[in-house]
């Protein structure tokens, strides 16, 4: 019925949506969308290093993104600059370094559009293995740190006072962010990964009254976005990343209609 590459892309995309759903909720709750952008931008450097040294792309992106996260934490401690300035500094300088390195790698043919916006043709069987095992590990770790992470998202001092060790949970969550970017970069592209994290979660917020529901709807929204996005990508020959994000945008707009209706009903 479908070509092999499309089946692979579907399996990959659905695996990614399962992970970005819950993680995206925390990105929205903790106001980390620009932090996600910074990690994603630095991923380009990771990709170029992977090509230069013939490393696995996901692994290389994971290492570079984690490194950038660590540098950010150090800069926050050592300077008085506001957080958004530091994030901008890291995002754009790592993106610039990545682009310059690409300039030097003239011996490799680069599909820069594929890197930025995702490419369903690029998903291999190995990628599926990385996405599903990596995704399973990410979800498992998130489940283990859920209590302290969620409690400190609501209120840091309560979590700390009642012995939950929120600092450790925050550090682990940062690594999970790097990991989710690493596994989804090929599919969604580095410019649009944060959208994949935020938009389904934002959609879910509009129709949820409890954190558990928001996570569930965020996952469902992500899965639907991937399905809709990939089929339209195949149909209209568009890049996979933008197609998925557009699908999630449509779901978001539908969730807004839902709010308007419920407000009207109340009045």
């Amino acid at each position: 019925m479908f070509d092999d590459f499309f089946i692979r892309a579907l399996i990959a995309g659905l695996g990614i949506a399962l992970v970005t759903g819950p993680l995206g909720c925390f990105v929205v709750w903790r106001r980390l969308s620009y932090f996600g952008d910074t990690l994603a931008h630095s991923a380009l450097l990771g990709v170029t290093l992977a090509y230069s040294f013939e490393l696995n792309i996901a692994l290389s992106v994971f290492i570079i993104s984690s490194l950038i996260a660590l540098i950010l934490i150090q800069l926050q401690k050592k300077t008085n600059l506001p957080g958004d300035a530091l994030l901008g500094l890291l995002a754009h300088s790592s993106l610039a370094v990545g682009l310059v390195v690409i300039g030097f790698l003239t011996f490799i043919r680069f599909d820069i559009m594929g890197l930025l916006f995702g490419d369903i043709l690029a998903v291999t069987t190995d990628d599926l293995l990385i996405i599903w095992t990596g995704g399973a590990v990410i979800l498992l770790v998130l489940k283990l740190i859920w209590k302290p992470l969620f409690a400190s998202t609501v209120n840091y001092e309560l979590a700390e006072a009642e012995g939950l060790n929120p600092d450790r949970a925050k550090a682990i969550f940062t690594i999970l962010m790097a990991a989710v970017i690493a596994i989804s970069i090929k599919m969604v592209g580095l410019l649009l990964i944060t959208g994949m994290l935020i938009i389904p979660a934002a959609m879910a917020r509009n129709i949820s009254d409890s954190p558990q529901k928001m996570v569930l709807f965020s996952i469902i929204g992500g899965l639907l976005s991937v399905l809709l996005g990939l089929f339209s990508s195949l149909e209209f020959n568009t890049s996979s990343g933008p197609s998925i994000i557009m699908a999630s945008l449509i779901l978001f707009i539908l969730s807004l209609l839902n709010i308007k209706q419920s407000i009207k009903l109340k009045n």
Partner: protein, 248 residues
């Protein structure tokens, strides 16, 4: 050494400095099982800071804190919750520990807010939210309860009822309580030990000892001293919500 064993938290000459300014320094106090220790003092005297030192929220402190329990319930003075989170009262009750539904219902009933169980936390009034905070802290059946102005924003009759609840909890759970309050009337009747702060420990001891202390008198004025002596008599009754008298 039973007295040593019943110690829940002990501050030894503890202090905390922020931006080269001491918020509080040289505080020594001990909270034991079944005892209520109350911190009093003017605004900015370091009461909340002392509570946060005891809880281990502040890390780089002078002196030392010895904490002998991990079962802690905390009602902070200020709480900034991000209301973009979809959070019901029920979800909030489970925030730091998985508590059985019966225990949640019991605590919410005790503080009089069981009807709000499925309401969104962001839609509560200040007083209602305060009652939820207290319910959350006691539902864990903690060994140490730290209450920072727990009844702020609660109506007057509710205030008295909640203080009585706190006293009762201290008796039934045999937990130690570190209480911060500006309300000298209510506090003094139930407290075992008072620490009067003003950037440092002004004076401490039983409520009566503190009331007679000259430093206390200069800090709170002669009137405050008289308030305390009024409470030297024992109460033999309490008032219900409707103002009826109930014998103890």
């Amino acid at each position: 050494m039973s007295s040593e064993n019943s110690t829940l938290v002990k501050l030894n000459n503890a202090g905390f400095k922020q931006n080269d300014k001491w918020l509080v320094e040289g505080v020594s106090l001990t909270v034991k099982k079944g005892k209520i220790v109350t911190l009093i003092g003017p605004n900015g005297s370091g009461k909340s800071t002392t509570a946060k030192i005891a809880l281990g929220i502040y890390k780089n402190i002078e002196g030392s804190v010895e904490k002998y329990t991990n079962k802690v319930g905390y009602v902070p003075q200020k709480i900034s919750i991000d209301w973009t989170l979809p959070l019901r009262v029920y979800d909030f009750m489970l925030l730091t520990e998985n508590i059985k539904d019966e225990a949640i219902d019991e605590a919410l009933t005790l503080t009089g807010v069981i009807h709000l169980k499925n309401k969104n936390l962001g839609n509560l009034s200040g007083g209602e939210f305060q009652r939820v905070l207290i319910a959350r802290a006691i539902s864990k059946k903690p060994e140490l309860l730290v209450l920072d102005e727990p009844v702020q924003g609660v109506d007057y009759t509710g205030e008295i009822a909640l203080y009585e609840l706190i006293k009762r909890i201290s008796d039934t759970l045999n937990c130690g309580i570190l209480l911060i309050s500006h309300d000298l009337h209510t506090v003094m009747t139930a407290t075992d030990h008072v620490v009067c702060l003003n950037g440092h420990v002004c004076c401490s001891g039983s409520p009566m000892d503190v009331a007679k202390n000259n430093e206390y008198k200069t800090l709170f004025g002669e009137q405050a001293s008289q308030i305390l002596s009024v409470y030297e008599h024992k109460h033999d009754h309490v008032h219900s919500d409707k103002g009826e008298i109930k014998k103890n």
